[in-house]
């Protein structure tokens, strides 16, 4: 294993480690634009130049492999001067639009300028090469060629990760710019990662642009519930509003995040967000809706059924199991089997639900019917009323329609409710309440609340608690975790 001396420290690294990686592991930060740990090394930005003894010129740390006996200096005057000069070159044609640039606050140029340069530009503003600004390329991205420093991270992302290869550097030298085929749009399932990757304000998210200055945002770790992959994410929020979702890169599941997953937060403030109950097609306050639902449940007695949901947390499924027990019905099902596996070779799972494995825990602990048996009982008319989360109910929508069984659904958004639901009760989204989810790899992920639920909207366990109370039973739940008693 090669031993190198980096800023006086002796490091022993694996063969093939680059100077930049070795420095990073030793806690020495080397500035970079084009280098990205998950993309191929390009070495074009020159920001990571370091001084290596016996080498006549400075070397790029990102592309220089550690060799035994190498003596590297990342803080010499020569390196400092090089960083300043590289920045001067990179900023030569950069427009002076920081005040109206959405990248401001998380911009590599701003940060490095303050850290390594602070030099006055020797290049008059009127001599700058002007380029096309604000080009909407695809449904999610805006490109500003003038701000681009041609690091080609976006080009490499499209050719190496999504393998769609839409982008390239066109023309040469001073004329070069990032472009794609005329008339084509940048519309792959992962396009928004490009806005994250871009170290400057060239690529920005059309969804997030101008919604919030980044320095106002607070970051809360959360988990994507868009499919069984269960990517770790980070919600950026301020004053009770989520503004964007970003990936939390980790070795187990994800470096990136798909575009659909990023848009998941939109349901929180969507026009169809439910804050009240629904009876047939009429809006109604939660309490009367609960009373009405409870009456129907009592009517149906033994013919009532409870369906768990792979879209609900383990705790809320457990609360559903308790409700079924309180109702003394045997018609309960936590059996959801989806084919799992990464569909596109990147992140998107064949299983569209985030918690089929979590529901299976309930099946193991509390038993219940298989989904086919549940279906058969619904078809035979043995089940006259189904209590279910909306998306799980949608799995049985044909059977529900054919049998005419009443559906009492729980939903966060009106769009999820299957047609013909008798009553719908609102519950708080998992951006608003905690819950545990188990992804397709069997990894247990705790979701913590990011923002508060709209006034009057309760977590599902609380809705179930009340529903039980209205039909004369008690689930004795004071928190989501209470439902788990006796399970672990």
């Amino acid at each position: 294993m090669p031993k190198i001396t980096l800023d006086g420290k002796i490091l022993e690294v694996d063969k093939g480690t680059t100077v930049l990686e070795a420095a990073q592991a030793a806690g020495v930060y080397i500035p970079r634009y084009c280098y990205h740990p998950k993309l191929s090394v390009s070495g074009n930005c020159r920001m990571c130049l370091v001084e290596v003894e016996k080498s006549p010129k400075l070397l790029t740390a990102c592309s220089t492999e550690c060799a035994d006996g190498m003596v590297v200096n990342t803080a010499s005057d020569k390196v400092k001067a090089a960083r300043r000069d590289v920045l001067e070159f990179l900023l030569i044609n950069h427009p002076l639009d920081c005040p109206i640039c959405d990248q401001a606050g998380e911009c590599g140029l701003q940060d490095y300028y303050m850290e390594y340069s602070r030099a006055r530009s020797r290049f008059p503003a009127e001599d700058k090469v002007l380029r096309q600004k604000r080009r909407a390329l695809g449904p999610h991205l805006m490109l500003d060629n003038e701000r681009c420093i041609l690091c080609t991270r976006c080009v490499r992302f499209c050719s190496e990760v999504t393998k769609t290869a839409e982008l390239e550097v066109m023309e040469r030298a001073d004329h070069s710019f990032i472009d794609l085929k005329a008339g084509k749009t940048l519309d792959n399932d992962y396009s928004l990662n490009i806005a994250d990757l871009c170290p400057v304000g060239a690529w920005t998210s059309r969804d997030f642009r101008f919604k919030q200055r980044v320095w106002f945002l607070k970051k809360a770790p959360t988990v994507c519930l868009g499919c069984a992959t269960g990517c770790l994410t980070e919600a950026h929020h301020n004053e009770g509003e989520v503004y964007r979702l970003m990936p939390r890169p980790n070795a187990e599941t994800n470096t990136w995040l798909c575009d659909r997953g990023r848009m998941a937060y939109k349901s929180l403030r969507a026009g169809d967000r439910l804050v009240k109950g629904f009876i047939k097609n009429g809006l109604i306050d939660l309490e009367p809706a609960l009373r009405e639902a409870a009456t129907r449940i009592d009517e149906a007695k033994g013919a009532a059924a409870v369906l768990g949901s792979p879209w609900l947390s383990v705790e809320d499924n457990a609360a559903l199991a308790l409700l079924a027990a309180a109702m003394k019905t045997e018609n309960v099902c936590f059996d959801f089997k989806f084919e799992t596996g990464i569909k596109d070779g990147i992140l998107i799972n064949k299983d569209p639900s985030p918690n089929a494995a979590g529901a299976a825990l309930l099946k193991a602990a509390r038993g219940g019917l298989g989904l086919d048996e549940f279906r058969a009982r619904l078809n035979s008319g043995a089940i006259k009323l189904v209590i279910a989360e909306a998306r799980a109910a949608a799995l049985l929508k044909d059977e529900l329609k054919a049998s005419g069984a009443r559906l009492i659904a729980f939903a966060t958004n009106r769009g999820d409710i299957p047609a013909g639901a008798y009553a719908t009760l609102p519950y708080a989204s998992y951006f608003e309440v905690p819950g545990t989810f188990i992804n397709y790899q069997g990894r247990r992920r705790a979701v913590e609340p990011v923002v508060a639920a709209p006034a009057g909207v309760k977590p599902l366990w609380e809705v179930l608690n009340k529903l039980a109370a209205y039909s004369g039973a008690s689930l004795r739940l004071d928190s989501a975790a209470d439902a788990m008693k006796g399970m672990e």
């Binding site: 290869a165 839409e166 982008l167 390239e168 066109m170 040469r172 085929k181």
Partner: protein, 164 residues
């Protein structure tokens, strides 16, 4: 108009066979396309990308990187005047100005009769014989105004044998 014809494919396969990877044949094939139609059309880039199984953007990037590829049909004679330092000092600006006024076009344009296209290009690598102009594939060296005028006349009357 199809650029990658059956005939072209046969030729292209032979060129591809010279390289360890098919992608490596990109530039020679682009040159071949340009030789056949005088320029590399958008559709030609598309067809070539499919033929080589490369993304279109890659082909376009290569075509735009090299100024030697014409992206629009060029005239019968493509006059390429070197504008780099040796030629510049030896009088290239004067030659360019003369061509502009004699032909009535500026750099990047083609005369209406389709005979001449004028370009200013980067170093042609013949500094020893500056100023230099390349016409199609041939170099004309140590030019001055009278030599240039004579050459233009010859070209106009189809007297000068040119390769390619």
């Amino acid at each position: 108009m199809a650029f990658v014809t059956e005939e072209f494919r046969v030729k292209a396969e032979k060129i591809c066979a010279k390289y360890p990877k098919r992608d490596a044949a990109l530039i020679p094939l682009l040159q071949e396309l340009q030789k056949e139609s005088g320029y590399v059309a958008e559709e030609a880039m598309d067809e070539l990308a499919r033929f080589l199984d490369l993304p279109y953007s890659r082909v376009k990037a290569v075509v735009t990187f090299y100024t030697m590829f014409n992206r629009e049909p060029a005239g019968k004679y493509h006059l390429q005047v070197c504008r780099n330092i040796s030629c510049h000092m030896a009088g290239a600006p004067g030659l360019l100005a003369r061509l502009r006024s004699k032909l009535g076009i500026t750099e990047g344009e083609t005369t209406r009769d389709g005979l001449f296209t004028l370009s200013a290009v980067e170093c042609l690598g013949a500094c020893g014989a500056a100023p230099v102009m390349q016409v199609n594939d041939e170099y004309f060296e140590k030019l001055d105004e009278s030599k240039l005028d004579a050459l233009l006349e010859d070209l106009k009357h189809g007297k000068y044998p040119l390769k390619g």
